[in-house]
Symmetry: C2
Subunit: 118 residues, 2 copies
DNA sequence: TCCATAATTCATGAATAATTGAATTATAAG
DNA sequence: CTTATAATTCAATTATTCATGAATTATGGA
């Protein structure tokens, strides 16, 4: 991920409505949510929601797919992971004071097959 | 970390100059960098830099300390870690598709004492 | 075809953020 | 005390973003 991509993604997520939308979509993976349902759930007009979804989409954080009259939006988890890695990359180049505690905090909730506590 | 704190932090980091400043400060931990040196390094006027540093400071991402005529700025790594955890928290509540690959990507560069590969 | 639903685009105004010259504050040296 | 350096604050302008009523596009059913 390039710096400009990260800036676009951070900018997209730094707005109240869009952060709420993205967090909702993460929770609704992998089904996704229709644009109109998002507007109702968050409580904003449909046209406003459409603009916000366009910003998230342009930043690569969500994907969309037309399904009959609705357009289903989904969080792009791999893109989100790329953003997190971009943000953490600097600190990992040579020092562990951020990443080590972060891993320690994350590991209990997401056990993986190749990592184990001793 | 509350949603509003996360929004402030994301908003602070979603601007080109401020993201560059923060990344530089992360690399310069724990020494920190004087405000004037940051302005020169990034290539913006001192008063502009001062405003940007104020935004980062208000978001809790940097701390400052006067040292003679200079003011030394430092990245607040624990605050940054809180932001990363906030962003990752939703996905970890019940699913691992983001966190597990993220941990897998981070662990090789930041080995910790209580986690080991098997 | 005609109508209803879902979503987006357009146009406008309001609010917010960014930039920068000038002035101000804080510190240290002569 | 005066001067120089470092940083911030102020003020004014410019640029960007946000919100929303109205219009437009796309789809499916009667």
């Amino acid at each position: 991920m390039e710096t400009n991509d990260a800036l676009d993604a951070l900018s997209a997520l730094s707005q109240e409505t869009r952060l709420a939308v993205f967090r909702l979509l993460v929770r609704r993976e992998p089904d996704g949510v229709a644009a109109g349902d998002l507007a109702k759930a968050i409580g904003v007009p449909a046209n406003s929601m459409s603009v916000h979804l366009g910003v998230l989409s342009h930043a690569g954080l969500v994907t969309s797919e037309r399904r009959s009259r609705s357009v289903i939006y989904r969080a792009d988890l791999s893109r989100f992971r790329e953003l997190m890695l971009f943000m953490l990359k600097d600190c990992c180049n040579g020092r562990a004071e951020i990443c080590a505690p972060l891993i320690a905090d994350l590991t209990p909730c997401c056990p993986t097959e190749d990592v184990v506590h001793v």
